[in-house]
């Protein structure tokens, strides 16, 4: 009975989404408060039904109800409970259900927290949100129904893809979806503004926190996905410029740009049209990501089942929403009120700079990802656009961004003092140069650019902290005063500093990992010893072990410091074999010392009794992910700052009044 209730709840959610997509919009057009009032309760009910539906599917997984086709195909009665639960979204159908669950969750949140939104804006936002939801409900019901049944259920399921039997599945997809789908709210806000032909002041207040929340989740989702790939795929790599990764990176970059332009809009009433466009683009890129991953255009661990009918359906959704949104933008954007004015050198100017480079970087990723696919589709020619392309295009675009990031917070709103900001950043830049020199001196060797990368990273971190130091009058005032001031600083200021510093932390990790990573690949017999970095690994032999639904070949390595007898760690990398899927996974073993890691991954056993082993020493590798966590922490600080954001403009001084004619219109 439970699966059928879940199925019917999903159908009801679809019905309610249709109501929500039509009635409030008519209400907003005819300015009828009663019809507009339908939006919020419907959104809540819709969320309730999807949540019930999702819970029903999850329950079917937990009790191994193989009469549900989806459960039969992706679960196994012997799996640990946590994996039974996570397999709910470890497959195409279930993950689409999670997608709409989060979509309706965001709708419900607008309904609950949006009390102070203008009624017509709220009605339109929820209406647009329901269009998206209705399209995806239909997609799920027609092509990807997770509640299909088997009349004569088998007694055992086909098991979850072994690579997905990991804690990563509990974190990565929900986070990523919260990010992807979170941008649907900013999209709905943008569409509502275009439908109404005006942008309320409340609009700006709302878009920033939503964009920020979605951005935080997306950052976490991508970061955790990267770490998961790092330890699960056994290659020791953390980013492959794989199209699927790029599909998530593109909305992230666009979302980062949106976040920054939304700040300008909220604080300064400027960049409105641009923000609307970014909001549309960000969610469009999320949809494109969904399409790339779910249509079978790409084959990867994310492609659960490629089915042309699904691809065409998603392509249709994509075309209607992106095309419709851009058409609406072209038609209605001119109605939106122009915003405030600012000088090119100002906080606003710095954020425009940020937006410019971020969108360009996003465009290069877009081209690098889609060009090979388009070429393949049109001419059948297969080319591979990999790391070299992205390193040659993406990195130079990020360089000015990183150089400029510390400047932004130091510039005043409306008109800034570039020279003054540069002066204040001298310390950070100086420290960066010292690090460049020191790195050259210590490492002699390695890529030439690596020391500069380290210097740049330190400059970014210190530059971010310079803003805090300035505001608290650190060094200039007594300690106590500075501390007091630091406490008094708005959390949003701390948030900016943390987010920017996180970027630097991440960069250190990236530079170190890619420059001073050491690698040994060897075929080892028991008793053999390998030296790597300052460690010595002894291969003690292999054992067999049985897990709940797999058998594993476990190799034991004892790790010592080179030249010492004491074992500091025992590493047990494994190869797991899952008979129910007839496939195997590689479980890398990691030893963490500080933020560096020793990484051991097993290859195939050879006929002469030896086993192929890949061993890496990755200095500072954890900083890559810790940096993103710092960024997310910064985002969280800023989000928790419930104050209204008002950017106090720098008043025009008498001597500056001559510059006034040179002020640029915002758009």
């Amino acid at each position: 009975m439970i699966p059928e209730l879940g199925h019917y709840a999903l159908v009801l959610a679809f019905g309610l989404a249709l109501v929500q997509a039509i009635v409030p919009i008519i209400g907003a057009r005819s300015r009828d408060a009663t019809l507009m009032g339908v939006a919020a309760p419907t959104a809540l009910a819709q969320f309730g039904f999807v949540a019930f539906s999702f819970a029903a599917l999850a329950a079917s997984y937990v009790v191994s109800d193989f009469s549900v086709l989806n459960v039969f195909e992706n679960s196994h009665s012997m799996m640990p409970l946590i994996y039974k639960l996570t397999s709910t979204w470890g497959n195409h159908e279930g993950s689409m259900l999670l997608w709409v669950l989060i979509l309706s969750l965001f709708g419900a949140m607008v309904a609950v927290f949006g009390r102070n939104l203008p009624a017509s804006l709220k009605a339109n936002v929820l209406g647009v949100q329901a269009w998206i939801a209705a399209a995806f409900y239909l997609f799920i019901l027609m092509t990807s129904n997770p509640f299909m049944r088997i009349a004569q259920p088998p007694l055992e399921g086909r098991d979850l893809n072994p690579i997905l039997q990991d804690m990563g599945l509990a974190i990565h997809p929900p986070m990523l979806y919260l990010g992807y789908v979170g941008f649907s709210i900013t999209f709905s806000f943008a569409m509502a503004a275009l439908i109404e032909g005006r942008i309320d002041a409340a609009w700006a207040r709302w878009v920033r926190p939503w964009a920020l929340a979605a951005w935080m989740f997306l950052t976490l989702g991508i970061s955790m996905g990267s770490y998961w790939a790092y330890y699960e795929l056994g290659w020791g790599g953390w980013w492959f410029w794989d199209p699927v990764e790029n599909a998530s990176l593109m909305p992230w970059i666009a979302g980062t740009a949106l976040l920054h332009s939304a700040v300008v809009m909220e604080k300064r009433d400027a960049l409105k049209v641009w923000t609307v466009l970014l909001a549309i683009l960000t969610f469009s890129l999320s949809l494109i990501g969904t399409f790339l991953v779910r249509s079978g255009v790409l084959t990867s661990v994310h492609t659960f089942a490629s089915d042309p009918s699904r691809g065409i359906f998603i392509l249709a959704i994509l075309t209607v929403f992106i095309g419709g949104a851009l058409a609406l933008f072209a038609w209605r954007a001119s109605l939106l009120r122009q915003g405030g004015l600012f000088a090119p050198i100002s906080r606003e100017g710095a954020l425009v700079f940020n937006n410019l480079f971020l969108t360009t970087a996003c465009a290069t990723v877009f081209v690098g990802t889609l060009y090979p696919l388009a070429l393949d589709a049109l001419t059948g020619e297969k080319i591979s656009v990999g790391a070299p392309f992205f390193n040659a295009t993406f990195a130079p675009l990020f360089l000015p961004l990183l150089l400029a990031a510390p400047f932004g917070p130091l510039l005043a709103w409306k008109r800034g003092d570039l020279y003054g900001a540069a002066q204040r950043l001298m310390w950070a830049a100086g420290a960066g140069l010292v690090v460049v020199a020191a790195t050259f001196a210590i490492m002699h060797g390695g890529p030439v650019l690596a020391p500069f990368g380290m210097g740049l990273a330190l400059y970014v971190i210190l530059g971010a902290l310079t803003d805090i130091a300035e505001r608290t009058a650190l060094w200039r005032a007594p300690w106590r005063t500075s501390l007091q001031r630091a406490r008094g600083l708005p959390r949003s200021v701390w948030g900016t500093a943390f987010a920017h510093a996180g970027l630097g932390v991440c960069l250190i990790g990236i530079v170190c990992e890619s420059s001073w990573n050491t690698e040994r690949i060897a075929a080892l017999k028991p008793g053999a010893t390998v030296d790597i970095s300052s460690y010595q690994l002894t291969f003690d032999g292999v054992t067999q072990r049985a897990g709940p639904n797999y058998r594993e070949l476990l190799a034991k390595f004892s790790v010592r410091h080179a030249g010492q007898a004491e074992t500091i760690a025992v590493l047990e990398p494994a190869k797991r074999n899952f008979p129910s899927r007839n496939s195997s996974t590689t479980e890398a073993a990691l030893m963490t010392r500080g933020v560096s890691q020793l990484y051991v991954s097993l290859g195939e056993p050879n006929e002469d009794g030896s086993i192929s082993v890949r061993i890496y020493h990755k200095p500072f590798v954890l900083l890559i992910w810790l940096g993103t966590l710092v960024m997310v922490f910064g985002g969280g600080l800023s989000l928790s700052d419930r104050r209204l954001r008002v950017g106090a403009p720098k008043p025009a001084k008498a001597k500056r009044s001559i510059e006034k004619p040179s002020l640029q219109p915002a758009e």
């Binding site: 009975m1 439970i2 699966p3 059928e4 209730l5 199925h7 019917y8 709840a9 159908v11 009801l12 019905g15 309610l16 109501v19 009635v23 008519i26 005819s30 300015r31 009828d32 408060a33 009663t34 019809l35 009032g37 339908v38 309760p41 419907t42 809540l44 009910a45 079917s60 009790v63 191994s64 109800d65 009469s67 009665s77 102070n116 939104l117 203008p118 009624a119 017509s120 804006l121 019901l141 509640f147 299909m148 049944r149 259920p153 088998p154 007694l155 055992e156 309320d200 002041a201 409340a202 009433d269 405030g340 600083l489 708005p490 129910s580 209204l644 008002v646 950017g647 106090a648 008043p651």
Partner: protein, 388 residues
């Protein structure tokens, strides 16, 4: 019934979620507050920031001026929205919306669900299905799956393979049967019986044909025990399939002669023997010859197994072949009443009415001297609608 009640309640909840806000009267005319409210909040925020010392007085003043300017513009622009229907048109809109939701939501959702859903299927959590059920009520398939689960975990359990093999054979899963027999053979060690069992599975998997593999298995069985019944029977069958009917007859005769009189398979061997035209040796010590006599030479187990996997045309072909064999045999030894009767029915099933009439005439000729047998033939002819 509870399922439909639940559906009804859920539908009611969904409809209520829409009708409730539609039925509510919104409080009087309210000005669209948002812009003005936001700017007023911003002014308060500036005052707070100034008080907390976060911004300097000059900056605060500049911000105040800007926000106030926007506030004035917003206050001028805001227009009221009404909750009362704007004339009869508005009332109609609400009514249409209410009726549409009341009707379309349940009907549409019901139709959509019935198109995709399977309300007749109960949930089947594994734990509930695994609870022991009264013997005989558990479907064979579930038992098999359970044994398979056991073998999955204990693939070295030879007894388990031996138990499941004949079940596979009965279920028509011949390839699995072969695998199970091979595993049992490997794990429990070779014996005449196991080799013969493997051969039998191979024959079934080969659509009833004694393949080289199967023949080798029977030969191995006989090497271990020259008296093994199953192996001898199939070796005989192999001879028959090779067209060496005399050899087959010889093998089966020997088999029948060795058999204890109450062997359950004796009838089977006699049928086979009769098929190749061998003489049935009377078991000397048999007290009850009638019982031992073959009731009717039916198709062999292997034949049936073969027929199962065949396409319709192949199966008809095979039946035709069997009928032709029967007809041949009756020509040489016409004293078999049951044989004639079976041939008559077979021709009718195959739609060969002419041949059925001929066969009826032949049968009457063969039993011309025995009126009671003639009567049975006439009865059947009448029953089949051949007479007249």
């Amino acid at each position: 019934m509870t399922l439909w009640m639940a559906f009804l309640l859920m539908t009611a909840a969904a409809v209520f979620a829409v009708l409730w806000p539609l039925s509510r009267r919104r409080d009087a005319v309210q000005a669209d507050p948002s812009d003005v409210v936001v700017y007023r909040d911003q002014l308060e925020e500036i005052a707070r920031d100034r008080a907390a010392g976060r911004i300097a007085e000059t900056e605060a003043e500049a911000a105040r001026v800007e926000v106030s300017r926007r506030l004035i513009a917003a206050a001028d622009a805001s227009e009221p929205i009404s909750s009362k229907p704007v004339g009869p048109a508005g009332l109609w809109r609400r009514r249409i919306a209410a009726v549409a939701v009341l009707v379309a939501l349940p009907v549409g959702c019901g139709a959509l669900y019935l198109a995709f859903g399977s309300p007749q299927l109960p949930a089947q959590p594994l734990a509930a299905r695994m609870e022991p059920q009264p013997a005989g009520q558990q479907p064979v398939a579930e038992l098999v799956t359970r044994v398979e689960g056991h073998l999955e975990r204990n693939p070295d359990d030879g007894q388990g393979w031996e138990v499941v093999a004949p079940v596979y054979l009965r279920l028509g899963r011949y390839a699995d049967a072969v695998r199970a027999r091979q595993n049992a053979l490997r794990l429990l060690g070779a014996s005449a019986a196991r080799e013969a069992d493997l051969g039998e599975a191979l024959v079934a998997a080969g659509n009833g044909v004694i393949t080289a593999d199967a023949k080798a298995a029977f030969d191995r069985a006989l090497a271990r025990d020259a008296k093994d019944v199953k192996a001898r029977y199939f070796i005989g069958l192999a001879a028959e399939q090779d067209g060496r009917r005399d050899d087959a007859a010889k093998i089966w005769s020997a088999l029948a002669a060795d058999a204890p009189s109450d062997a359950p398979w004796l009838g089977f061997v006699r049928q086979a023997l009769a098929r190749v035209g061998g003489t049935v040796p009377a078991p000397a010590e048999s007290p009850n010859t009638n019982m031992a006599a073959p009731a009717a030479p039916g198709p062999s187990a292997a034949d049936v197994a073969a027929a199962k996997d065949m396409s319709e045309t192949d199966r008809n072909e095979m039946i035709r072949g069997m009928v032709a064999r029967l007809a041949d045999r009756l020509r040489t030894e016409p004293a078999d009443l049951e044989g004639w009767l079976r041939l008559l029915r077979a021709y009718m099933v195959l739609g060969q009415r002419e041949k059925a009439m001929e066969a009826a005439d032949d049968a009457r000729r063969a039993f011309a001297a025995e009126p009671d047998k003639l009567r049975r033939i006439d009865e059947l002819v009448k029953g089949l609608g051949l007479a007249g």
